[in-house]
C-alpha cells in the first residue's frame, strides 16, 4: 500500500486520473484488487474510487451520501452546470477551427499556435472566441485573440480538461475528464428530456 501513497494522495486532492495525465497509475487502477484495497483505506474518509462509464477516467466519489456530501455535490454540480455552455462552446470552437469532425475526445492534441493561426484567419471564429473568453468561466479582459486563447486554455487546464506535458510549451492534450463531461451532458439530455434528439436537419439549419 505504501507505494500507492502518492496515487492516493492525488486522488484525495480531487485529481482525475486518465491515460493522458498518468498512464502508469491509470493502468494500475484497472486492477480491481487494488481498487478494493484503496477503497478499504478510503472508507473512513467517506470516499471510494469511481470511474466514468466508459472507464476513461478514475476519480473519487462519496460512499455515503450524507448531508455534507450532498452539500458539496450541490455546489460542485451547480458550478459544472454553469460552466457547461462555455465548455461546450469551447469544444465546438476547437473542433471547427481545427477542421475536426468528431467532438474532442481524450488524447486529442492541440497546438496552441495552430489553433491561433486558424482562428485569426476567420472573422467569425475571432468573434466567437472574443465572446467565449469574456464569459465568467474564463474571465479574459484582453481584446487580443492570442491573449484570449492563452487565458481560455489556461483556465481549461486548471479545470482539468487539458494536460500540458511541457510547462513551457503551449501544447495540450485533452484529458479523460472530458469524457466525464460528455457523460454528464448525455445524462442531462436524457433526464431532462432535452428535445435535441428529434431534430431534423432543417431544424438544425435554423440555429
Amino acid at each position: 500500500m505504501i507505494e500507492n501513497g502518492p496515487l492516493l494522495e492525488r486522488l484525495l486532492e480531487g485529481e482525475f486520473i486518465c491515460a493522458v495525465t498518468d498512464e502508469h497509475s491509470f493502468h494500475k487502477l484497472q486492477n480491481e484488487q487494488l481498487v478494493e484495497d484503496l477503497n478499504h483505506f478510503l472508507r473512513p474518509l467517506n470516499r471510494r474510487v469511481a470511474k466514468s462509464e466508459d472507464g476513461a477516467v478514475y476519480f473519487l466519489a462519496y460512499c455515503d451520501l450524507n448531508q455534507q456530501a450532498r452539500q458539496q455535490l450541490s455546489q460542485q454540480f451547480n458550478t459544472t452546470v454553469q460552466s457547461l455552455l462555455p465548455m461546450l462552446e469551447w469544444m465546438q470552437l476547437v473542433q471547427e477551427a481545427m477542421g475536426r469532425d468528431g467532438a474532442l475526445s481524450a488524447g486529442d492534441t492541440i497546438k496552441l499556435q495552430d489553433f491561433e493561426s486558424k482562428v485569426v484567419d476567420n472573422q467569425s471564429l475571432i468573434q466567437r472566441l472574443g465572446q467565449l473568453s469574456s464569459d465568467k468561466l474564463f474571465k479574459s479582459t484582453s481584446d487580443k485573440s492570442d491573449m484570449q486563447i492563452k487565458q481560455v486554455f489556461k483556465r481549461i487546464k486548471e479545470l482539468g480538461y487539458l494536460y500540458q506535458p511541457h510547462k513551457d510549451r503551449l501544447f495540450y492534450i485533452v484529458t479523460g475528464k472530458v469524457e466525464q463531461l460528455i457523460e454528464l451532458v448525455r445524462f442531462i439530455k436524457d433526464e431532462e428530456n432535452v428535445p435535441i434528439d428529434e431534430h431534423t436537419p432543417e431544424q438544425e439549419a435554423m440555429f
Binding site: E9, L12, E13, G14, E15, L45, N46, R47, A50, S52, E53, F59, L60, A61, Y62, L65, A69, R70, Q71, Q72, L73, S74, Q76, F77, T80, V81, L84, L85, L88, E89, M91, Q92, Q95, G99, D101, G102, A103, S105, Q180, I182, E183, L184, V185, R186, F187, I188, K189, E191, E192, V194, P195, I196, H199, E204, F207
Partner: protein
C-alpha cells in the same frame, strides 16, 4: 486478349508488342496532362495538339462519354492510375467471380481440345492463358483486399467528413460481402472434375487456388471485423459531435434552463458523484527523537540567501542582512524556549528554577541570556496573567561597595489564591 496469335513467335515479333509499347509511351509522353485530367474528371483539350489528341483517342486512352461531355480518360486508364496510386476515391473493387469461372471453364475446354488434337503449341498457349486467368482472378481479389486494408489503415482519410467516412465504410462492407459471396460460387468439386487427372491443371485449379482463396477469406474476415470496429468508433464520434452541438445550441436558446436538483435526490446519479478534494498536510514534528536527525538535515539543506531579495517592511523590521536574520531566528527560538518554560511551570506543582530547567533540557542558551529572557517574558505579560505567576529572583550583592546585584537564578511558580505556591 481477343487477338489470338497462333505460333511460337518470340514476344517482340508479336504485333501486339509494338502497339502496346506505343500506347504506353503515349501515356508517358502526356503524363502531366493526363494526370490533370484524372484529377479533374476531364482533360483540357487546349493542352494537347490536334494530332496528339487524335492519337490519344485512337489509342483508346481518351474518349468522349457523350457528345455534350468534355474528353476524359477511359475507365480502364482511370482504373489503372487509381490502382497504381492506391487512390481509394476512384479505385474499383471488382468482385465478379462468375465471369472468371466461366472463362476458366472455356479455357480448360479449349486446352483439352487442343491436346486431343495433339497440337502442342496451341495447348501451350491455352495453358498460358488459363494460368493468366486464374492469376487474374486471385490477383483481383488480392487487390480488392489490399484496397480494403489500405482504406482501413488510413481510416478512410481520403474523405474528410465523418458522414462520408461512414458512407464509405458501408460501401466497403457491401463490397466485402460481395467478394465473400463470390467465393461461395467457386466449387472445388467442379474444378477437381474439370482438372481430371492432369497434374498441372490440378495444381493450378485446385491446390493453388484453394490456398489463395482460403488465405483471402481469412483476410476478408479480419477486414470485416475491423470495419465494424471502425464504424462503431465513427458512429460514436458522430454522436458525440451532435450531442455537443445540439446541447450547446439548446442552452444558448434557453438561457434560463434549469437542471434538476440531482445531488439531493434519494438516488444520486453516479455521473455527478465526485468527491471534493482534500489535501492532507504534514508539518515538522519534533516529538519523535528518531526524526530529529533527518529534520536537522532538512533544516540545514534549506538554502539561505546571503542577500535576501527585496523583503517587505513588515518582514524585515529593521533588519537588513542575513546575519541579522539569523539573530532574529535565534531570538525567536529563545522566546519559544522560554514560552515552553512557562508552560512547564504551569504544568508543574512546584516553582521551577530557570537554571535547572536550562540544564535539564540541555538548551543551548547562555544562562545569563536565558534568565534575562525569562524576566523579560514575565515582565512582558499582561497584568492579568502576570498575577497568576510569581517570579523570585535569586540574587546576591556583587560587592559591598555598590548596590550591584547579580541574579544567579530565577524561580517561577504559579500563584494560587494569592500565595506563592511553594515557598523557596
Amino acid at each position: 486478349m481477343s487477338t489470338l496469335h497462333e505460333g511460337k513467335s518470340s514476344a517482340q515479333s508479336n504485333p501486339l508488342f509494338q502497339l502496346g509499347k506505343e500506347r504506353l509511351e503515349l501515356i508517358g509522353k502526356h503524363a502531366d496532362a493526363l494526370m490533370q485530367g484524372y484529377l479533374q474528371g476531364h482533360v483540357d483539350e487546349s493542352s494537347f495538339s490536334h494530332q496528339a489528341l487524335e492519337k490519344l483517342i485512337n489509342g483508346r486512352i481518351l474518349w468522349r462519354p457523350d457528345e455534350q461531355q468534355p474528353l476524359s480518360l477511359r475507365p480502364n486508364v482511370n482504373e489503372l492510375i487509381a490502382g497504381l496510386t492506391q487512390d481509394e476515391r476512384k479505385r474499383q473493387i471488382n468482385s465478379d467471380v462468375g465471369e472468371h469461372l466461366d472463362l476458366i471453364h472455356t479455357r480448360v475446354q479449349s486446352l483439352q481440345t487442343a491436346r486431343q488434337k495433339g497440337d502442342y503449341a496451341a495447348s501451350e498457349h491455352h495453358m498460358q492463358l488459363l494460368t493468366e486467368r486464374v492469376h487474374d482472378m486471385t490477383g483481383q481479389f488480392g487487390d480488392a483486399i489490399e484496397s480494403l486494408w489500405h482504406r482501413l489503415n488510413t481510416e478512410f482519410g481520403f474523405v474528410s467528413s465523418l458522414d462520408d467516412k461512414i458512407l464509405e465504410i458501408e460501401l466497403a462492407q457491401r463490397q466485402l460481402r460481395r467478394i465473400l459471396d463470390g467465393f461461395k460460387i467457386i466449387s472445388f468439386e467442379d474444378l477437381i472434375q474439370l482438372a481430371g487427372s492432369d497434374g498441372a491443371l490440378r495444381k493450378l485449379l485446385v491446390s493453388q487456388l484453394q490456398a489463395r482463396i482460403s488465405e483471402h477469406s481469412g483476410s476478408l474476415l479480419e477486414v470485416q471485423k475491423r470495419l465494424v470496429l471502425l464504424m462503431a468508433r465513427f458512429r460514436h464520434q458522430q454522436e458525440r459531435a451532435l450531442l455537443v452541438n445540439r446541447m450547446s445550441a439548446f442552452l444558448r436558446q434557453h438561457p434560463n434552463f434549469k437542471v434538476g436538483d440531482y445531488p439531493n435526490r434519494s438516488n444520486v446519479p453516479e455521473v455527478i458523484n465526485q468527491a471534493h478534494g482534500i489535501s492532507a498536510q504534514g508539518f515538522v514534528a519534533l516529538d519523535r527523537p528518531q526524526d530529529s536527525y533527518a529534520l536537522a538535515e532538512l533544516a540545514r539543506a534549506i538554502p539561505r540567501d546571503l542577500v535576501p531579495a527585496s523583503q517587505s517592511e513588515t518582514q524585515t523590521q529593521g533588519f537588513a542582512t542575513a546575519v541579522q536574520d539569523l539573530v532574529a531566528t535565534e531570538q525567536k527560538q529563545l522566546a519559544k524556549d522560554v514560552e515552553d518554560f512557562f508552560l512547564h511551570v504551569i504544568e508543574s506543582t512546584e516553582a521551577v528554577s530557570g537554571v535547572d530547567y536550562l540544564a535539564e533540557n540541555a538548551l543551548p542558551w547562555e544562562a545569563e541570556m536565558w534568565l534575562f529572557q525569562i524576566v523579560a517574558e514575565f515582565e512582558g505579560l499582561p497584568q492579568q496573567n502576570k498575577q497568576s505567576f510569581m517570579l523570585e529572583k535569586d540574587s546576591a550583592r556583587k560587592s559591598p561597595f555598590n548596590h550591584l546585584h547579580i541574579i544567579q537564578d530565577v524561580k517561577l511558580g504559579m500563584r494560587f489564591f494569592g500565595d506563592f505556591q511553594a515557598v523557596g
